[in-house]
Amino acid sequence: MINLIKLELFKIVTKPRSYLGFLAITVVVILIQFAFYVDGKQYIEFIFQALQNSFQIEGNILNGSLICFIILQMLIIQMPLLVALVTGDLVSGEAASGTIRLLLSKTYSRGQILWAKFIAGNIYTFALILWLGILALGIGLWVFGTGDLVVLKSDELVILRADDVIWRFLGAFFVAFFSLSVITTFSLMLSCFADNSITPIVASMSVIIIFTIIGTLDVQLFDTIKPALFTTHMIIWRNLFDNPLPTSQIVTSFAILFGHIVLFLSVAFWHFKRKDIQN
């Protein structure tokens, strides 16, 4: 099994497409950091102008933590696409190129093969998040310095102390990875049904966009289904920056996301094990 996972990782690592995600993250993060390096002060003044009429605000607001938080905010739609670009291709790409025949006529069972692809896909997702963390948080802190984090909620500002921030970021990255693992599993599941690379990727993104729109619409009709949508819970990483920490909400979302992973994986296994390879 380890051997199979290594083979899957080797295939991912040697595919040029796999580096698109890393490149996109690098470009976006550097652009945002550069923009804030040049224009960050105006941005802060714009946000705080009302409060500055009544108070003198001391402290380094424009710090690495704030920049990292803004970057995470901005990348929240892009990250699922970058993940699905690779994980949506794990099975269907092999079907399109014919190598699925090679894979499934060997001694490894279909179950083992799919597990290996699932694990390799998640390792890729983790690598993306790790890269994002290194760039956004690591370089952000190095360039902009440390300090308290100002979280700009729609109904209030939350100011988290510097020594209270790092563990939240680590938790947020872990939660973000877990959320993206849902995308990994979802796109892998779709990949099992398709014989070409594009369909599962486009389908994954379409579902995410539609669910996200439903989740943001303030319509009573959708209120009953919103809690069941995985996109509703994928943004749970933001709650790690709330004060007090809404632990039960985070745990609930985690459980729902885990349930989605189990569901998608079960469907993937059910179909993949029974699928006739006719092409």
């Binding site: 199979l4 083979l7 040029p16 006529s105 006739d276």
Partner: protein, 305 residues
């Protein structure tokens, strides 16, 4: 299961919805031979071979390979099978060497570098190991496919339409490779092909399937020996000879003619009678020869079914 059968298929069925693709197929494939697997398009050849490789699941029936049941001993069986289905499959963005390593890895092997280079030399790709497969020609890909098939030293090799896209030289090379595998390396080869002349040249045994059923099975020579031959007469005077044949009882045996030869469908026993007729009617000939083709046999059987 017959004693020397490497593959034994019993009452194999496959349905797609209500469409009965494979219908109670029974097959015995002897070990150590080249076995020809023939049938028209849509007959079920590819489906059967894919079921052998567990790419398609049978609806019912049993497949025994190496005296083991494919349902229960899949791993042990597939460890000893190499295959090319329709075309060899590669990760085009990887080098030939990496593709071969992946193939070995999938067979749970970690061959040494020397073994890998040996494979490339065997299939005539020495010096091209590090090239990306997408830069390979069709023939090179075919040879790499053979290397992939042999890397884990299988007992049984399944080739589904392996000559697709090959030029005449490529076909000859493949034929020689198959004969080498059988004769020198003692492999069993199951070969499905549309180029019936190739099957006739190299297959020891064969089966013809049609509409998912086995129509006939046996040694190639035995099956064809009972069939009519095609007699080709090359007369000195085409017009005289053709006229004489058309005015005689031989007219019923007439098959075809071109400007140089007249063809008749006869059994071997009728040839002396024909010779006598030609002599009696003073019809000198340059040659009277016979050929027996699998193609005709195939078409005859499949049209009957």
């Amino acid at each position: 299961m017959a004693n020397n059968s490497i593959i034994s298929i019993k009452n194999l069925n496959k349905f797609y919805g209500s469409f009965h693709v494979i219908s109670n197929l029974n097959l015995e494939i002897p070990e150590g031979e080249v076995f020809g697997f023939l049938g028209p398009n849509g007959a079920g050849k590819s489906t059967t071979l894919r079921m052998l490789l567990t790419l398609i699941q049978p609806t019912s029936g049993d497949i025994w390979v190496f005296n083991k049941n494919l349902k229960t001993d899949r791993r042990e069986i597939l460890q000893q099978i190499g295959s090319i289905i329709e075309k060899p499959d590669f990760y085009l963005y990887l080098s030939a060497m990496n593709n071969l390593k992946i193939q070995a890895g999938l067979s749970r092997l970690r061959p040494s570098k020397s073994k890998l280079f040996e494979m490339f030399e065997l299939v005539g790709l020495k010096g091209r190991e590090q090239d990306k497969v997408k830069a390979y020609s069709h023939g090179m890909k075919q040879r790499l496919g053979i290397a992939q098939t042999l890397i884990h030293d299988p007992r049984l090799i399944i080739l589904d339409e392996p000559t697709t896209g090959l030029d005449p030289q490529g076909i000859i090379d493949l034929r020689n490779m198959i004969l080498h595998l059988k004769n020198d390396l003692k492999k069993t080869i199951v070969l499905s092909s549309h180029i019936l002349s190739e099957i006739e040249l190299i297959a020891d045994s064969m089966t013809i399937i049609n509409n998912g059923k086995a129509v006939v099975q046996g040694k190639v020579g035995d099956l064809l020996s009972n069939e009519d031959l095609i007699i080709s007469i090359e007369p000195q005077s085409m017009a005289n000879c053709l006229s004489a044949i058309q005015q005689s009882a031989w007219q019923k045996k007439w098959r075809a003619n071109n400007k140089n030869a007249i063809e008749l469908n006869l059994s071997k026993a009728e040839i002396p009678e024909l010779n006598k007729f030609l002599l009696e009617h003073n019809l000198p000939t340059y040659s009277v020869s016979y050929k027996r083709t699998l193609e005709d046999y195939f078409l005859k059987l499949t049209s009957q079914n």
